[in-house]
């Protein structure tokens, strides 16, 4: 909780002002009974009606002053708490966006989402409660005591009994109830888990007649939850009646003992009435204060979860840059022109705002790239239907990689080279390390040993941005984002014009289904691409990689959801575009790979064969096994 304090710094002035306002508001509140006492003791006793009026006006002024303070405080508190929440949210989101794959997998997507949304809302909510109500409680408590003592110190002795009594009662009830609240949460989670399993496994449950079993499991969880809830509700039910009883009895004793004091002439009646009101204020403040102890632990849990995110490691790039320049220090400097919609070909600057210090090398490269991208010659070439790009030499040199805490390396001693203009296919069973290999090329993970180079340069010596800008990656699971079809394709290259987008879609065999959609390229894709079929998503993901015109293409089993005809057409079209580029295809089916210039056979993280189809059939046992399970005897001959 305390660690988040630093995010409060910009609001410190506001917080101080709010505290002052709350103080004045409390003061106003505390003054009213005293003025009323004056009315009784002087105005009524002496029948002085003008005095009563005068005091009445005073009371009104004081009340109005209290209201103004309160409203101003409320305004500041809303801005401060929400602003704080906003800043924190931005920070956390930017932080997560800069996480490496490893980090995001370690923490888990689901919990990161909760932390960015619910946990921050929780902290923000508690913060606002803190500012608006709870801060005033101690002020009222102390102020009330001061006023009460000033009215009659002897009578205040009653409070010496009442205060500990009420505190003890709260403590007793809360200490029994609060642990049970946690238990309820766990039991509710359990019930939800059973329910979720029931939903995801519904076919299995029905096919295997497990319905009765599952019903019993659910009923048990439900019964358990209900029992605990009843218990906690019954404990908490005692809270309010007990509070009321103590407060009321306090009031009664004040009347009794106050009566004695009045009788002895040591206290005036108006002061007695005021005293009762102060006593109530004091006790009520204590109740409010106790809320703090309920809310703070909850907020502390959320705060700790947020902190964990903020303290986690970010990807090396971003960290490195954070030292030098701002990079991910998100924010206002980047204008709100943020939709994925960068302007057509015109605006390279739109994405070039990155305050990344460029190496001379890079600048050189951009200089070469820019005219290429914009130049009329190049454009014409594209329009003629060639989205080709020149490849790069990609090399693995004795690369070994282990996932953190894994016993065995996922890849061991991998060496191979892919020449520009050639296609390399990687085949192997699940867990053989195919996808991991692609992720290493993307710099998602760092090899434990060995080097991966592009045109001779170790990829871990170039900025990640630069590395990834050379790569067109089509993941196994086609992930699309909310937005139009065109937005999604252009995601690969924000400068791509409408024509380029269309061309890429055409090559990816997506143009046809897009043109059948309402609004065509402007058709909106729902979250997660739910309104598209698997094959359609895959084709868009391919188009997205194509529009990037990368040096290196990585296809991770990217054709699996396509029907055979589309698959064939797509591949033919792809061949033309990727002619000069470096292409790596991960595949499961022999028929996908047998035309490749080079096939790498992976088995349990190691290369067990490398060569062309026919060679491998003869030399590589694993390849033969895979082929044997997919092809007939004659085909193997």
């Amino acid at each position: 909780m305390l660690k988040l304090r630093s995010y409060l710094a910009p609001y410190m002035a506001s917080v101080v002002l709010i505290l002052a306002l709350v103080f004045f508001q409390s003061l106003a509140e505390l003054l009213l009974p005293t003025i009323m006492a004056e009315i009784v003791d002087i105005g009524i006793v002496q029948g002085d009606i003008p005095f009563i009026f005068k005091m009445g006006i005073w009371m009104l002024l004081v009340a109005a002053f209290g209201m103004l303070c309160s409203i101003w405080g409320s305004y500041l508190a809303a801005k401060t708490a929400l602003g704080f929440g906003k800043d924190l949210r931005s920070k956390v989101f930017a932080q997560v966006e800069s996480f490496s794959l490893q980090e995001i997998n370690r923490l888990g997507t689901a919990t990161l989402i909760t932390r960015t949304t619910n946990d921050i809302t929780q902290v923000q909510q508690v913060f606002i409660m803190l500012l608006r109500m709870i801060v005033s409680a101690p002020l009222m408590l102390i102020g009330g005591i001061v006023m009460a003592v000033s009215k009659d110190a002897r009578l205040s002795l009653i409070l010496v009994f009442a205060l500990p009594l009420i505190a003890l009662t709260i403590y007793l009830i809360a200490s029994k109830g609060i642990p049970l609240f946690k238990a309820i949460q766990l039991k509710l989670d359990k019930l939800n888990l059973v329910l979720r399993e029931n939903l995801t496994g519904i076919r299995v449950i029905r096919a295997f007649n497990r319905v009765e079993h599952e019903k019993a499991r659910y009923e048990e969880a439900n019964r358990d939850l209900t029992a605990t809830t009843v218990k906690v509700q019954r404990i908490m039910a005692a809270m309010m009646p007990a509070m009321m009883l103590i407060m009321n009895l306090t009031a009664v004793s004040i009347i009794w003992f106050g009566g004695i004091r009045v009788d002895l002439g040591q206290l005036e009646v108006g002061d007695l009435m005021a005293f009762i009101q102060y006593a109530m204020l004091i006790l009520f403040s204590l109740v409010m204060l106790s809320m703090l102890f309920v809310m703070l632990p909850r907020a502390a849990v959320s705060a700790a979860r947020i902190n964990e995110v903020l303290e986690a490691e970010t990807e090396r790039e971003v960290k490195m840059e954070a030292g030098k320049v701002i990079e991910m220090d998100v924010g206002k400097d980047v204008g709100i022109e943020s939709k994925m919609k960068a302007k057509e070909v015109a605006g390279t600057e739109a994405i070039e705002v990155r305050p990344l210090k460029k190496t001379g090398n890079q600048l050189e490269k951009e200089k070469q790239d820019l005219p290429l991208a914009k130049g009329p010659v190049n454009r014409e070439r594209e329009l003629n239907g060639k989205m080709q790009s020149e490849g790069a030499l990609l090399e693995f040199r004795e690369v070994t990689f282990s996932y953190p805490e894994a016993e065995m390396p996922a890849l061991r001693n991998i060496s191979f080279a892919v020449q520009p203009g050639k296609t390399t296919a990687i085949i192997g069973g699940t867990g053989s390390g195919k996808s991991t290999l692609l992720k290493l090329i993307l710099g998602f993970y760092k090899p434990s040993q060995g080097q991966i180079t592009i045109d001779g340069q170790d990829i871990w010596t170039m900025p990640l941005k630069d590395l990834r800008s050379r790569i067109g990656y089509v993941p196994q699971k086609a992930v699309l984002f909310t937005g139009t079809i065109a937005d999604n394709i252009r995601y690969g290259n924000l400068e791509a014009g409408a024509e380029e987008v269309r061309k890429a879609a055409e090559i990816a065999q997506a143009d046809e289904f897009i043109s059948q959609l309402e609004n065509n390229y402007e058709a909106v894709i729902a979250q997660g691409g739910q309104n598209l079929s698997g094959g359609q998503k895959q084709r868009l993901a391919i188009a997205r990689a194509l529009v990037r015109r990368p040096q290196i293409y990585l296809f991770d089993d990217s054709f699996s959801a396509l029907d055979y005809k589309t698959d064939a057409k797509l591949r033919k079209a792809l061949q033309e575009v990727t002619q000069a580029a470096t292409v790596i295809v991960v595949a499961q089916r022999i028929s996908t790979v047998w035309n490749a210039d080079q096939i790498i056979v992976l088995d349990q993280g190691q290369i067990v064969g490398i060569g062309r189809h026919q060679d491998l059939l003869q030399n590589c046992e694993v390849y033969r096994e895979i082929a044997g399970s997919q092809l007939s005897q004659e085909e193997l001959a």
Binding site: L60, A63, S74, A81, N192, V622, S629
Partner: protein, 630 residues
């Protein structure tokens, strides 16, 4: 103090308001059929009629007592005041009448005690009632979920269903627990206070009542304004959550394409909007309290002044003023509370309605009254002129007829898609055909009990069909009364024994869908072991071994081939030999059966299958590349 922060993420963002006074001014949720839903909800309450009556009685008593006390307390003050005045006037022997005061104090203590006891008793009872009702509601929902057709689940997200069973029920629960008695208390308080104030002084009551419209006006105005901001805030929050979820799940793609900056920018933009509407909503709803409390103070001052003058003129007693002040302070509270409870009730009814909607869904076709029993099934399966589609107008199978004799094999060929799921759906009666019938050994599968029908099928599929339980249970499921020996023998035959024994708990390892330490291939081996043990007449299996490492794959193939012998098989086929040797080949594309026949017939037809066959399995290999073009 209920923990609303359920760890479940499926919560609709709009439903997490803070309860109590702050609910005022939030956008309302409206039920479609308020009366009908209320009536049904009351039906849930009806078994507890007696107890609820008791709760209400206690609530009324407790409130009445607490309303009575200020006036008595006021009398106490009056006694003191009068004693004081007499003393001041120098009347000899005068002073506070402690005997009278003692009686008052005693009756006050009694009142307070009873009031608290009743208030506790009322809440104590209500906790039991509310939770029992909610228990029943959850129970009803769960029972219902098990008789809903698969169509229901396939057509909506899990989150949607979950949200009804958890959040909506939760809303009902909280309302039953808190708001119901609060409503009673508020109304009684309101009534009682007005009565007491009238008794004390009609004139002062008039003054208080004159201020009342002001409270209403302000509350209404603020609510009107804040609703817009709350709606904006909710919208922005929804967008923000959506963006976060999308970006976090798509992290890999964002990284690969280097679009972190754009993602953060969009987040910033939404976050700014959230802030802009959020603080306004917070502020506007936050000023209700100061405003109301000022109006309250206004009343307080007026009463002090007017009352003071009245006391000075001796037309009213001072204790009555004190009591009146207390009443007028409490006055606006029940009004605000009633208004906010009205809001809560609305959203509760809307929640209850969503729950009832589930309970009203059409159930699966009932089991046949006198189900036929196949004692020794041979495994002859016939599709007789069946038609089927998931949606109206989208026909996948049209007038399809297939005869599969015992022991024959049907190969399903084609690109991946809904094909095999549909087949399983129909054979196991997760869905019923729309026309025609499916028979096993001549009996319409709708005349068999679902239990018996499903027992006839063994399934070895890609998406592993394991249920929550131990490995042992999962293998043993196929047959009743099998010993450990049989289970191990089956596991051995399926080449699964070895890896099972390497697990820390061996055969007692508990499988669950979420976290399992088994690989896909291992799970599949377990299903094979199960099928071996169960010895079902009909098999549905999947040859695709894409998620299995090469060595396991070979084991799987061996085990499957052995398993298939002598059984009727539906095979999602990938091996050429399986396809060619199949008695019937169903060629599927986009979930539809487009061709049907054996290998030779289909080749001769020169249609989709022929093309597929040539592209996939053409004998030349890479020599006459590109293979796809032929």
């Amino acid at each position: 103090m209920r923990n609303e922060q359920s760890s479940d993420r499926q919560l609709r963002p709009g439903r997490r308001h803070l309860r109590g006074g702050w609910a005022l001014g939030r956008p309302k949720e409206k039920a479609k059929d308020f009366k009908g839903t209320l009536r049904r909800l009351l039906k849930y309450l009806s078994p507890y009629r007696g107890q609820i009556a008791l709760v209400f009685t206690m609530a009324v008593l407790s409130t009445s007592f607490s309303i009575l006390s200020p006036i008595i307390m006021g009398k106490g003050t009056t006694i003191i005041f009068e004693g004081f005045l007499l003393k001041l006037q120098g009347v000899p022997g005068a002073g506070v009448d402690f005997q009278h005061l003692g009686r008052l104090v005693f009756s006050l203590i009694t009142l307070y005690l009873f009031s608290s006891v009743f208030s506790y008793g009322q809440q104590f009872l209500m906790a039991g009632i509310a939770q029992k009702i909610v228990f029943k509601m959850r129970q009803d929902l769960n029972v219902k979920l098990h008789v809903l057709p698969l169509r229901y689940f396939d057509s909506r997200t899990h989150g949607e269903v979950l949200s009804r069973v958890t959040n909506d029920v939760d809303t009902v629960s909280t309302t039953l627990q808190q708001s119901l008695t609060q409503l009673i208390t508020s109304l009684v308080t309101l009534l009682g206070i007005v009565l007491m104030m009238l008794i004390i002084s009609p004139l002062l009551t008039l003054i208080t009542a004159g201020i009342l419209p002001l409270s209403f006006l302000i509350t209404a105005q603020v609510a009107k304004h804040s609703q817009k901001y709350f709606a904006d805030q909710q919208k922005a929050l929804g967008e923000l959550n959506g963006h976060v979820e999308e970006m976090y799940t798509g992290h890999e793609v964002i990284k690969a394409f280097g679009r972190e900056r754009e993602s953060v920018q969009k987040f910033e933009e939404i976050n700014d909007r959230l802030y802009a509407s959020g603080w306004k909503a917070q502020f506007v709803s936050g000023i209700i309290m100061p405003l109301l409390s000022f109006i309250n103070n206004l009343g307080y001052v007026l009463i002090s002044v007017v009352g003071g003058i009245m006391v000075a003129k001796r037309s009213i007693e001072i204790g009555d003023i004190q009591a009146f002040l207390q009443y007028s302070r409490q006055f606006s509270h029940p009004i605000v509370q009633t208004a906010s409870i009205a809001n809560i009730l609305q959203s509760t009814i809307a929640a209850a309605e969503r729950v009832f909607e589930v309970l009203d869904e059409v159930e699966e076709a009932p089991e046949p009254k006198e189900p036929q029993v196949l004692k020794y099934p041979r495994g002859e399966v016939r599709f007789e002129n069946i038609s089927f589609g998931y949606q109206e107008g989208d026909v996948l199978f049209h007038n399809l007829s297939i005869v599969v004799r015992p022991g024959e094999t049907v190969a399903i060929v084609g690109p991946t898609g809904a094909g095999k799921t549909t087949l399983v759906n129909l054979l196991l009666r997760f869905y019923d055909v729309q026309a025609g019938k499916i028979t096993v050994d001549g009996i319409d599968i709708r005349d068999l009990s679902r239990r018996d029908l499903r027992r006839m099928f063994g399934m070895v599929l890609q998406d592993t069909w394991l249920f929550n339980g131990t490995i042992k249970d999962n293998i043993a499921y196929g047959r009743e009364g099998v010993g450990k020996e049989d289970i191990i023998r089956a596991a051995r035959a399926a080449h699964a024994d070895h890896f099972i024994r390497t697990l820390p708990e061996g055969y007692e390892t508990v499988l669950n869908e979420e976290a399992s330490n088994l690989s896909q291939g291992q799970k599949q081996l377990i299903t094979i072991a199960r099928a071996i043990l169960a010895d079902p007449p009909i098999l549905i299996l999947d040859e695709a071994t894409s998620s299995v490492d090469t060595r396991t794959e070979i084991l799987l193939q061996k085990a499957m081939t052995k398993l298939m012998e002598g059984r009727t098989c539906f095979v999602i086929a990938h091996r050429l030999s399986t396809i060619r040797d199949a008695d019937t080949i169903l060629v599927m594309n986009n979930g539809k059966i487009i061709e049907q026949g054996n290998h030779r017939e289909l080749l001769a037809r020169g249609g989709f299958y022929a093309e597929l066959y040539n592209s996939q399995f053409s004998t030349g290999g890479p020599a006459d590349s590109p293979g796809q073009e032929s």
